[in-house]
């Protein structure tokens, strides 16, 4: 680097997605996709409810959390009423579509196409009684936390 005061650029990131709500999944996906667009190596590691993002039967039905989400600025009681989460999810998806943000299934596939690694957390897979077959084909492997750290070597780890 010619300018010694300039910090070294980021060359690799490993992003952990641990939540299964719409607002819990998107940020990690956006960061992974953005990393690849900058030529940064990226791995995605799905753990706990974040596994829903790569679950064949579930990833098309990810919902926005309307309870316990003060950012929505709606009364918690209202957020818990039947159908409210579905309605708010629908609204959010519609807004994102207008901005040309892909749906979660499409986005995950797109990120895999960029060459990012996709892994499921073994402890969570065991906990939920899942197997490799439950996940979309883009998932390369089910790995332990130790294997995750090996793959994350030399880069930054981002937990979402």
């Amino acid at each position: 680097m010619s300018d010694s005061t300039k910090p070294d650029p980021i060359t690799k990131v490993s992003i952990i997605i641990s939540k299964g709500s719409l607002e819990g999944i998107y940020p990690g996906l956006i960061m992974a996709n953005g990393a690849r667009a900058e030529g940064i190596e990226a791995n995605l590691f799905f753990t706990f409810f974040g596994l829903d993002a790569i679950h064949k039967a579930r990833h098309d039905h990810i919902k926005l959390a309307t309870v316990g989400n003060p950012g929505l600025h709606m009364p918690t009681m209202a957020g818990g009423l039947p159908g409210v989460s579905t309605m708010m999810t629908h609204y959010m998806n519609h807004k994102m579509e207008q901005l040309d943000i892909p749906s979660i299934p499409e986005f995950v596939e797109m990120i895999a196409d960029t060459g990012a690694g996709m892994y499921a957390c073994k402890a969570s897979v065991d906990l939920f009684g899942l197997e490799k077959n439950d996940f979309i084909d883009q998932v390369q492997d089910i790995i332990t936390v130790g294997e995750f750290y090996e793959r994350a070597a030399g880069g930054h780890i981002i937990f979402t």
Partner: protein, 105 residues
């Protein structure tokens, strides 16, 4: 980097190496720009992307993101990353002499 000579002509570029005046760019500059991005030879597929970048910029005033490229340039996301491993939209913009596309997706 602000002032650089590409294919024998002096051009204005920003600190990151993007052209500040896309009108200064000519097709003859592309191979040299590509080499400095680690791409030894520009194939027809590369050119398809570069021309798409130029026409999108001319129409919209900003270059397309990778997602837009994948959807509309006729080159898939997978192929785009094979053609431009260091980031398709960013690298192609640099070689095509347009500013860096801004967009989060």
């Amino acid at each position: 980097m602000p002032n650089a000579t590409v294919a024998g002509i002096t051009v204005d570029r920003n600190d990151e190496g993007f052209f500040t005046d896309p009108n200064q760019w000519t097709e003859a500059m592309a191979p040299e720009l590509a080499r400095s991005e680690g791409i030894d030879e520009l194939t027809d597929d590369h050119w398809r992307v570069l021309k798409f970048m130029r026409s999108e910029y001319a129409q919209k005033g900003t270059g397309p993101t990778v997602r837009v490229l994948g959807k509309t340039s006729g080159v898939s996301i997978k192929e785009l990353y094979q053609l431009f491993p260091k980031g398709p939209a960013k690298t192609a913009a640099k070689i095509a002499g347009i500013p860096k596309p801004r967009g989060c997706i």
